[in-house]
Each structure stands twice: as C-alpha cells, then as structure tokens.
Amino acid sequence: MKKWQRRAALAFFVIAAGAAAKAVDIGFGSFDAPGPGFFPFWLAVLLAVVAVVYYASNREADAAAQPPMAAGRFRRPAIAAVIILLYTQALDFLGFATATFFLFGAWLRGVEQERWPKVGLVAVIGTVAVYVVFAVLLHLSLPRGLLI
C-alpha cells in the first residue's frame, strides 16, 4: 500500500510543479496587486510541500506486499468505464434512446454477465422507463442522433 501512496505523492508533486510553473507564466502580480497566477502559484507551492510531507510519512517499506489495486478487482470497473466511454461517443451519433438501450445491454452482459433474455428484457424496459421520465415527463433536451 505504501508503495502506491508514495506514487500518489509523486503524482501530486508533479502536478504541483507544473501548476506552479504555469502560474508564473499566467502572471504572478505582486502582493499589493495580485495577478491571475498569484493564488494558483501559492496553492501549487502548498500542494508540493504537502506532497513531500506525505511522501516522507510513507517512506518505510510495506510489512507485506498489499497492492490496493490487485488486477482481478479492476476487471468490472474497467469494463464499466469502457462502456460509459463508448456511451458518451454514441450519444450524439445514435441518439439518447438507442445509446441507452445499448448501455443497458452492454452493462448487463459485459459487467454483470447476465443471460441474453434478461439482458434484452431489462434493456427494453429500462430504456422505455428512462425515456418516459426524462423526455416525456421532465421535457429534458436529450441528444438526437440517427435514431431516437
């Protein structure tokens, strides 16, 4: 776990260093007339300092190797993330209702590994229910694509 904490501290330090450099570019101003980069600069400095302290507090090695992100645990969240990514890409192209049908289907099949009849049934009922609530009852403006 501590190995991952140290990596996180390094990531925050890199972000802080980049943010500080960019803040100087934006314009630091002065103490009596702060510029647009003044506040971000001091935040970045503070972030870097806290990241160093955090790194130092996780210096020692783990008693036992306990990676918080064991590969097996990642599988379902990763599949879900890919499905949501594809959904965002399909929304404008296919339209809300069709993309939603595929989201339900892909989720139940890909993430939950449900049987096809259940996948089809839930996808149809879910899509109709969501469409009725958002488009018909709440009159929200939803993406329209090739289909609905």
Partner: protein, 502 residues
C-alpha cells in the same frame, strides 16, 4: 420582526401545494437512498441538481434537496439494522448494536427507536437552527475579506482534520480541490488559467460534473469490485413501538445524541458521520454496562441515530449564515442555491427571507413526514433492498449522464464526468476522502476573492489577517490544529519511553 413571526411566514410558504409536494418527494427520495447501500445523500443531491434549473424557485429546490439530506439520515438506519450494511456513512455505527438486536428478533424495536430518536433529534436541530442562525448571521455582517479568508481556511482545515484518519491526506485533497477550482478564466483579469487552449475548460470545471463524477460514477466503480448481495434478516418485523423498558434506557441516549449531534453539526467539516461516531463513544462512556455494547444494546442505536439527524439539521447553520458549507451534501445544496442566483451567507436572511425561513419551516414538516414514512412503511423500504445492483448501477450512470448533459447540452461534459469518476475511484482506492476535495472546490472562489481583496485593501500587508481580532482568533485555531497532532504524538512517544524505562 421576531424570529417566531418570520418562522410563521416561512410556514405559510412551506405549506403551498408545490412546496409540500417537493418536500415530500425529497423526503421519500432521501429515505430511499438512505436505505439503498452504495448511493449516499451527496450523490443523490448531485444527481438532482439539474432539476434545480427546471424547478425555477430557489425555495422549492432547497426544500427538496434538504428533504433528501435529512431523509437519508432516517433511511440509513434500516439497512444498518436489517442488513448489517450501512445505507449511508452516518449509519455505520448503527450496524454494531442494531444488527445484533435484529438477530435477536428485536429489529422492530431498533427501527422504531431509530425513527423516534431521529424525529426528536431532528426537531431539536431545527429549533436550534431557527434561533441560532439569525443572531449568527447578524454577527457575520461585521466580517470583512480578512475574516472571510480566515473562516474559509478554518472550515477547510476542519474538513481535512475530521474527514478521515490522515490529516495530511485531508490537506492534500483540500489543496488539490482549491487548485482545480482555479481552472478557467480569472474572474478579475479574464486571463485563461490551466485551460490548455481548449474551449471546454474556458468556463472552468463544472461543480456538478465533478460531483457526479467523483461521487456518482466513482462510487459505482468501487462497488463493482465486489458483487453486492443483500442478505436480509428475514424474520418478520413486528412491534415497531419500543417497550417501556426500551424508552427508559434510551431517553438520555436520545437527548445526549441530539446535543452531541447539534454541536458537531455546527462545525464546518463536521456533520452526521462524525456526530454518530462521537455519540456512540459518549453512550459507551455513559453506560453502567459498557461491556454490553456491540451485543444489541438499544442505546447504541438511539444515541448515534439521534446524533446524525441533529447534525444534519445543524449543518445548515454555517451554510445559511456564513456561506460556508460544512460537508459534501450541504455543498450540493449550496450549489443548488447558487444555480438559482441566491448567495448563501449573512445577507441571505435580509435579501431572501422567504428562502431562509421557508426551508426551516419545511424541515419541521419534513421531520413529521419522515416519521410517518419510516414507521408504518418500513416493510415497503425493506422491499426496495430487493432491487438488484445490476439494474441500479446502469440506472445511476444514466441519471448522472442526463444530469451532466442537461447543463450545457454537451456530450463532452459527460466524458469529463467519466474522467472525474476514474479520478475519484483511484483516490478512494488510495484511501483519500473526497469530501474535503469537493468542499475546497466550492470554497475556492470565496477564498481567492477574499485573499485578493484583503491584500488590496492592506496594500499587500499580510498582518491584516492577524491584526483583526476575529480573523486572528480563527487563524489561531488553525495554527493549533496544525501544531497539536505532532505535539501530542511527541508527548506520547516520550511518555512511552519513560514508562518503558521505568
């Protein structure tokens, strides 16, 4: 006009059919999300924030959002008692004795005491809110930029301090959240900051997109790591009204829980989760049989459940009077008011008395609604636990997506939400609390504005923060909070060495 008269006017607004309906809807939704594990009040309010645009009235919006927040406190106990799984974080400790009571066939008494205790404590909290908030707001009218800066720093420090086991992690999240809030056009000069030349970042990162990403989507990713299987205590729930002996044992626990919850809820960064933990510890200390805690003691349910409801009501005080939201769910309500063009803070009572008193009055009504919803209808809520997570999860993704899309009708925002979801998931995996990040993101604007104004007024002299008494006191507390943990740990180490040597 006295507070009582103002409150009566608030009641007149709260009982309009529209406000009553949305108050009821909020209470029902809140109870539902409290019952369902894996969907907390902050995430639910964030899902419904886009509805604020559609509702039009700030009072109606905040009445519904408030109903969700305190409704979740009521509902959370149901899953804790029947499933040994907290429906939301503030009911974690209720699992300890509540589930043991259920296993002994006393689920009804535990649920009944949780509901009645919640009602009593919620009412205590609202009475406190009605009478403490107005003088506090009047006092806050004396605040200048230096005081606001120091108060915001204190609120953020408390959020970092109370959020989890590691203060450093909390501070990291606060500073990271503040940095994220600087993305977009500088409000004074109009210069781009961290936009990387992209149009999408010009308006800055959207609070709603961030909140739905880290809380909604991130939470789903985390829950997907393991298959959620609900195992209900299947015995029939009977005798919802606790016995006379239960009342006798619980009366002081409810009272103590109400007071503890109210005062913890007042703290920026405090809130229902910490209140319930403190109340459990207080009950154990106060009991003549502390060894029985964990084996199904009714005080172990009454105290924490009362505390989390009192805290939920009290946490509205810093938000409504000082403009400082104390926890993520309250930050969502704060954002809902901003969306409606209402700035929470000391001027709220003056400028929008209808919103201020209307929401307080609605909370009195909502508390009664929740008692009715939770006692006779507990069987119905239990049935909700049968909704499989396989269907709930994609539905939440859809609600988040539609909510984010409806802000600007832009699919790119949905992709941004996914990015924040992944970020939230990774941070949670590394044991970072996301509450301080979100609070800092909300308060970033206030902090920057008050810092710049204070420096401009004082010609760049930082002593302005230390020469003004209120600001100096607030910063003194911050300094104490920073210095105290290392001093305490040093003293402990020395004492340990001494005792080892002796």
């Amino acid at each position: 006009m006295t507070e009582i008269q103002s409150l009566m006017q608030g009641f007149a607004l709260a009982v309009t059919p529209e406000n009553l309906m949305f108050g009821f809807l909020g209470a029902v939704l809140g109870t539902a999300v409290g019952v369902l594990p894996g969907l907390g009040p902050a995430a639910t309010i964030s899902l419904l924030l886009p509805l604020s645009y559609a509702l039009g009235s700030p009072l109606t919006s905040i009445i519904m959002m408030a109903g969700i927040y305190y409704g979740a406190m009521y509902g959370g106990s149901t899953t804790s008692i029947l499933l040994n799984m907290p429906g939301e974080a503030a009911s974690v400790v209720t699992c300890i004795d509540g589930y043991q009571m259920a296993k002994k066939g006393r689920a009804g008494a535990a649920l009944g005491m949780a509901a009645v205790g919640s009602f009593f404590a919620g009412t205590v909290g609202i009475i406190g809110l009605s009478f403490i908030a107005p003088p506090l707001a009047r006092f806050a009218l004396n605040f200048g930029p230096a005081e606001y800066f120091s108060l915001t720093v204190l609120g953020l420090m408390l959020a970092a301090y109370l959020s989890g086991r590691s203060i450093i992690k909390g501070v990291l999240m606060v500073v990271f959240g503040l940095l994220l809030a600087t993305v977009g056009l500088d409000p004074i000069s109009g210069k781009e900051r961290y936009t990387f030349g992209t149009m999408i970042l010009m308006d800055g990162l959207d609070f709603l997109t961030l909140a739905m990403g880290v809380f909604g989507i991130g939470e789903i990713f985390l829950n997907l790591e393991e298959k959620i299987k609900n195992e209900l205590v299947t015995t029939k729930i009977t005798n919802l009204w606790p016995t006379l002996a239960d009342w006798a044992r619980s009366k002081w626990a409810v009272l103590r829980g109400s007071l503890v919850g109210f005062f913890v809820g007042l703290l920026p960064g405090g809130g229902a989760v910490i209140a319930s933990l403190v109340a459990y510890a207080v009950e154990k200390k106060a009991s003549s049989e502390p060894e029985n805690f964990g084996q199904g003691v009714i005080e172990g349910v009454a105290g924490p459940e009362s505390a989390n409801n009192a805290a939920a009501s009290a946490s509205f005080i810093p938000m409504l009077t000082l403009g400082i939201p104390g926890n993520p769910a309250i930050a969502m309500i704060y954002a809902a008011l901003l969306i409606q063009g209402v700035q929470p803070g000391p001027f709220l009572i003056q400028d929008h008395p209808d919103v201020f008193w209307g929401v307080i009055a609605s909370m009195y009504i909502g508390n009664v609604i929740l008692l009715v919803l939770n006692l006779p209808m507990v069987g119905l809520w239990v049935q909700m636990l049968r909704i499989p997570y396989a269907i709930l999860a994609p539905t939440v993704v859809l609600i988040c997506s539609v909510g984010v899309y409806s802000i600007k009708n832009n699919v790119t925002d949905v992709a941004m939400m996914l990015i924040f979801g992944v970020m939230g998931y990774i941070l949670r995996k590394l044991d970072f609390e996301l509450g301080p990040l979100l609070l800092a993101f909300v308060l970033g604007g206030i902090l920057e504005k008050s810092l710049s104004q204070a420096l401009l007024i004082s010609n760049g002299d930082f002593s302005v923060f230390l020469t003004r008494p209120i600001s100096a006191t607030l910063l003194g507390v911050v300094a104490l909070m920073i210095m105290l943990p290392p001093i305490v740990s040093l003293m402990r180490r020395r004492l340990g060495k001494k005792s080892a040597a002796g």
